[in-house]
Assembly symmetry: C2
Homo-oligomer: 205 residues x 2
DNA sequence: GTCTATAGACCGATAGAC
DNA sequence: GTCTATCGGTCTATAGAC
């Protein structure tokens, strides 16, 4: 590092980061739109408007590309979680999170989780950034879930892990896109409907 | 057709159908295990124990292969629906269907639906067999849903289409495999838990 | 002159099709 | 068992910024 020209270095680094952010945003969108397998590296390069070779200056593989996008989503979720008031009722925070992820999904910014044996899975679970984020999010949500169950606002008969997984699954619920494709409801109405089925269930009350 | 040897022709046709059934079963299993994109035609041939070329004697493309498997699932669902008593309460029939598809999922026999813009979608919606089955199933379920809402056993505030899509989505709910992977519950317990979250919701009642 | 990004050709492997 | 297309990944030559 040339300490006599700190501005130049900073500027270059800034450019680098800005481009990296543009790349990750594009990957995030494509990942949400078509999934990991269907997304091609050429598409990503085309969408960002840079050469494919330049992509590999930033990320060593397609998996790392997708991983970076997943980490970004994770960080956004962490930021949202931390923005919620600790003084609020845990059930309200849980519902706020559910609404937030559903809105993200409807906005086409929620990558589908690679539940299956994709090559992505291996990269993700080896990524410290991803796993740390996932664990922190799970811990925060888990705390709220148990608190809400103790307060009698969430069904205490359900294991907390079931509630947690259900919330994760709702983030990628295909019902959202089905209803959007049906075109009979606005995005806000769709979120309300799925929130209702998720928390109140299908039964009459 | 040689009408002087009807037995032989029938035998050949039977063999043909038997092999076709073996193929479709294998495709069904692989489709459930890894999804359409990750499934390769070579795998299918290997699993059935026939040459890859032989596959193309039965099905013109990978999409048609998968389509046949989807039609098979659809037919099984239709058969199950028709086995349910018309005299039963509609809500009971709906829940029986939900349990049945969840069990199918846990048994590794429920192909993941191609919600995205997969090449499968096009083939499916152009398939008369698939679409007819889907429509008939949707009609039967839709009738039960509206009847249950009229009886006050299903939440009448939800559009019937939302209930229908929610049931379809639960058939492929990743929560099932998550809980199975967690290994803390038996298949029966998992079905009970997801049935609870689906119909009673996460809220305390 | 040096560094970096670009464009585009290129390679190898995989997998669908026949 | 062969053909061919696609796609992840690499390489080289050119251009431009400093």
């Amino acid at each position: 590092m040339n300490t006599l020209a700190p501005v130049k270095v900073s500027f270059k680094a800034q450019m680098h980061l800005a481009r990296e952010d543009a790349i990750v945003q594009a990957v995030n969108r494509l990942l949400a739109e078509k999934g990991f397998d269907a997304m091609t590296v050429d598409e990503v390069a085309a969408e960002v408007g840079i050469a494919k070779a330049s992509l590999y200056k930033h990320f060593p593989s397609k998996e790392d590309l997708a991983c970076a996008a997943m980490v970004r989503v994770m960080r956004r979720a962490q930021a949202f979680l931390k923005s919620l008031p600790d003084t609020a009722a845990p059930i309200d925070n849980i519902k706020a999170v559910a609404r937030w992820v559903m809105a993200l999904n409807l906005a086409g910014e929620m990558p589908t989780l690679p539940s299956e044996n994709s090559s992505l899975r291996g990269t993700l679970i080896q990524s410290r950034d991803y796993m740390d984020g996932l664990i922190e999010i799970s811990d925060m949500l888990g705390g709220w879930i148990e608190a809400a169950q103790a307060q009698g606002t969430l069904n205490p008969g359900l294991p907390a892990i079931v509630v947690l997984y259900t919330l994760y699954a709702r983030a990628c619920d295909p019902v959202l896109e089905f209803l959007k494709a049906a075109g009979q409801h606005t995005d806000a109405q769709i979120v309300d409907l799925v929130m209702s089925t998720c928390f109140e269930g299908l039964n009459a009350r």
